[in-house]
């Protein structure tokens, strides 16, 4: 519904705008006089709470009310003239479409309406109180920057712009959600990103037709291909340096107004096992930690099932020295092995889920005390055996090693079906389970890019972390246009022996 300014009738226009904004109640209208001799009637409109009132007072009201010493009546292009002459604010424009004016008002800008003029001056006065930039809680790095994204889109974009001074940095804005009309920005580097993937992503975002997209998480679910898999298909982060790093490899960053988490597409499996500190710490240490992580992920899925196989089906496989302790701890246990392990796993999940809702201090105490008490009493009441508890405990600790929260949830879930398969079929079940997981992973793709593919040249950054100066090419897993990112510069200063 295009509301055009019929005439320069001030009060009529104000009413039109008020109706368009809806009964919000926090709209402010101030009437002023502009000019000497025959003063013009004017009004400024802004929405309280999202504007920086200092700018309104100092840069709009002050000059317009106090410093317009000429007769402006009947001047042509009054809007533009005022912008150039009196409004001492840097970001102004002139707009005649009332719809656009209303949009701007909703984003914290101020509108100056002049009686008799069909155009409106829009001044950028965005402000209002929001969260300060701090380090995200879940992703910390010792030697990296400590800023994190916030809820405000402009601030986020500014964080990126500050770090990326490349000419080819492109930002595309979209508007999604019919009621919320949230702003969504796609940020990428034009001559690195793969155009096909970009097109695909843009099509999907444009195709979204619903009321609201409140958060990045929801958006992710609307544009992903495979809804029923446990594996995340977008990589989410709160750190600008990670987002930018991903962008430089050919990915596209999606920022959503209102969520500090940004999404990067496309995503590949190994990416979820790379943490920030990997790149800021030393090579050998990082490689070791990476291997540990991958081992931990495998352990989480396999260890409980393997333990179940050993005690239930294949007793002869247990190493001779372990047989005595294991059997002794299991004599007289009430539950069958499968139920025992399942019960302990579920209790652990309870503790974890429960801890999420409570305030931090209580949650810590709860997990600790709950774990200890329940574990201890379970052993004493002969419900579970100590060895089982050990196995379950090790599994739980291993899940903490996975850096990305989405992926750790996925891996945690996988161990339950694996346990069930093992209970039915023994070690054959574990083999089947792993095979199915691998096949499933291989058939996933994120916006057309295969999810689980290994490229020989990428191995420098998957299981180990080769020295940074060796990673001359961008990873092949993400399609890109320009594959050289650095040249070997160390030979310039390395001493020749």
């Amino acid at each position: 519904m295009v509301i055009a300014m019929e005439n320069g009738d001030l009060y009529g226009n104000i009413e039109l705008i008020t109706n368009a904004l809806g009964t919000q109640g926090s709209m402010v209208v101030k009437h002023i006089y502009i000019g000497m001799d025959q003063p013009l009637d004017a009004a400024i409109i802004y929405v309280n709470g999202i504007t920086n009132k200092d700018i309104v007072d100092r840069d709009i009201l002050n000059p317009l009310m106090l410093h317009t010493r000429e007769n402006l009546n009947g001047k042509e292009n009054i809007g533009e003239y005022l912008c150039k002459r009196y409004i001492s604010m840097s970001n102004t424009l002139v707009e005649s479409d009332l719809n656009a004016v209303v949009n701007y008002l909703k984003r914290g800008k101020t509108a100056v309406l002049i009686n008799g003029a069909t155009e409106v001056i829009i001044v950028d006065t965005t402000g209002g109180v929001q969260r300060a930039i701090m380090e995200p809680m879940n992703e910390t790095a010792a030697k990296g920057p400590r800023d994190g994204f916030v809820e405000n889109l402009e601030v986020n974009l500014s964080l990126i712009r500050r770090k990326v001074k490349d000419n080819h940095l492109s930002i595309e804005m979209f508007n999604i959600g019919s009621r919320l009309q949230s702003d969504v920005a796609l940020v990428y580097i034009n001559n690195i990103v793969d155009k096909q993937v970009l097109e695909e992503l843009k099509n999907r975002i444009k195709a979204i037709d619903l009321d609201s997209v409140l958060s990045a998480g929801k958006l992710e679910q609307y544009i992903e291909d495979y809804a029923y898999t446990v594996f995340p298909q977008a990589y989410s982060t709160e750190r600008p340096d990670r987002a930018i790093g991903n962008m430089l490899e050919g990915r596209i960053v999606v920022l959503i107004e209102g969520t500090p988490m940004v999404l990067t597409y496309p995503a590949i499996f190994m990416q979820f096992f790379q943490a920030v500190e990997d790149y800021t710490e030393r090579t050998v240490i990082s490689s070791f930690v990476r291997l540990l992580r991958i081992f931990a992920a495998v352990l989480v899925i396999t260890l409980p099932s393997f333990y179940l196989t050993l005690i239930k089906f294949n007793v002869e496989l247990i190493p001779a020295k372990f047989v005595t302790p294991i059997v002794q701890s299991r004599v007289g246990i009430a539950l069958t092995p499968f139920l025992e392990i399942l019960a302990m796993e579920i209790i652990v999940e309870f503790l974890r889920e429960g801890g999420l809702r409570l305030p931090t201090k209580i949650a810590q105490t709860l997990s600790l005390v709950g774990g200890i008490i329940i574990g201890d009493t379970a052993i004493q009441s002969k419900m579970v055996s100590p060895t089982t508890l050990l196995v379950v405990g090790v599994t739980v600790i291993s899940t903490f090693l996975i850096p990305n929260y989405d992926m750790s949830l996925a891996i945690r879930i996988l161990r339950f079906p694996m346990l069930v398969l093992t209970n039915i079929m023994g070690i054959f079940g574990i083999a089947i389970g792993w095979f199915l997981i691998l096949v499933h992973l291989s058939s996933l793709d994120s916006l057309g890019v295969p999810y689980f593919e290994f490229h020989k040249s990428d191995l420098k950054d998957t299981f180990i972390r080769a020295p940074l100066w060796k990673m001359n090419k961008r990873p092949e897993g993400i399609p890109n246009q320009d594959s050289i990112r650095q040249t070997d510069s160390r030979n310039k200063f390395k001493k020749k022996r």
Partner: protein
């Protein structure tokens, strides 16, 4: 077509040792007896050891009868030792090997030994400090590699590999119950799968020295009660050279021993004088060669088989699957042993 049921671990009795006995009950009747030593675990941490023995005409029958008396399903795979009574060994190991080989659960690395008398007595024997005797027996077999030149090739796997192979024969440790307890008193020598001879410890040492690579032991020279020297030696890789003159075969065995002098009361000043060292080395070489020759004579005349594995070397050179009886060939061949001794370490000093 029902699969064999599996039960969880607490309902399982693990076998720690298994024995094979035989008794001739009549003209054509042999009765087999398989005692097993199992571990029963109590919640309080106590471990009790029970022996179950059953007799029957065939091994399968025995297994069935045994399960009737046990209250837990027994599971193989943890057995430490397989004991064969001397009688059974003389009768032939084939049935045992067949039984062990077919069953996939069986632990291939259990130690095997031949025992004098009935294996049941050994499994029942209470050894102080051990919960069951099988552990002790296994431990002593494994520890025997340190002295007496025993190798660690006395496992079930080795029996599988040696019995059917061309030009190879099996030997196993022989244990007896003496006043001090269960002791290894020699080696049992097999032709194919039947026991044909027992060697005492002295002969066993030489047998092992000649037969295996990389074995350790102590050799000594003694002139009088006060003059003796002990040499702790390790053999290297045994080299066998096989030649043929017409129809007669010949073997040259080259052994090299290297080691430390641990007790020297015979050669004064061996530390300082290089010539003394050479003298000792030469004396030692001669002594060992003589011992070897003595043993080989015994082998040719008493045992009449090739227990040194020389047949395999000959087959490797002159062809396999020709139907040659390598035992005969080796016993009628010229066998010469050459020993090289090298003194490596001499300890802390000469007192």
């Amino acid at each position: 077509m029902m699969g064999q049921e599996r039960v969880p671990i607490e309902e399982v009795a693990t076998i720690s040792g298994i024995g094979y006995d035989i008794e001739r009950k009549g003209e054509n009747m042999m009765e087999y007896s398989i005692p097993i030593s199992t571990n029963i675990y109590k919640p309080s941490g106590m471990q009790v050891n029970l022996i179950f023995k059953e007799q029957g005409q065939s091994l399968g029958e025995i297994i069935q009868k045994r399960q009737e008396v046990m209250n837990k399903k027994f599971v193989q795979g943890h057995e430490r030792v397989v004991l064969v009574s001397e009688d059974y060994a003389r009768y032939g190991l084939k049935t045992i090997i067949e039984d062990r080989f077919r069953n996939a659960e069986v632990s291939d690395i259990a130690n095997m030994a031949v025992c004098k008398g009935k294996s049941e007595d050994y499994l029942k024997y209470k050894v102080a400090g051990y919960s069951n005797s099988s552990e002790f027996i296994q431990g002593s077999i494994e520890a025997s590699v340190n002295y007496n030149f025993f190798s660690d090739n006395y496992k079930l796997m080795d029996a599988f590999v040696r019995i059917g192979a061309e030009g190879r024969n099996l030997i196993l440790p022989y244990i007896e119950i003496t006043e001090e307890g269960i002791e290894i008193t020699g080696m049992a020598i097999f032709k194919e799968d039947k026991l044909i001879g027992l060697a005492n410890l002295k002969d066993s040492r030489i047998l092992n020295l000649l037969r295996d690579d990389n074995v350790k032991g102590i050799v000594s020279l003694q002139k009088s009660p006060k003059e003796y020297i002990d040499f702790e030696a390790k053999t290297g890789h045994r080299k066998v050279e096989c030649y043929k003159q017409g129809d007669k075969y010949g073997f040259n065995i080259d052994l090299s021993l290297e080691g430390a002098v641990i007790n020297n009361e015979m050669y004064v000043d061996m530390k300082k004088d290089v010539n003394k060292k050479k003298e000792f080395e030469k004396d030692m070489e001669e002594s060992i060669e003589k011992q070897c020759d003595d043993f080989i004579k015994i082998m040719k005349n008493d045992y009449k088989i090739d227990c040194l594995g020389l047949g395999r070397e000959a087959a490797a050179k002159y062809g396999r699957q020709k139907g040659t009886d390598w035992n005969e060939v080796v016993c009628s061949a010229d066998i010469k042993v050459n020993v090289k001794v090298k003194v490596d370490l001499q300890g802390r000093g000469d007192y």
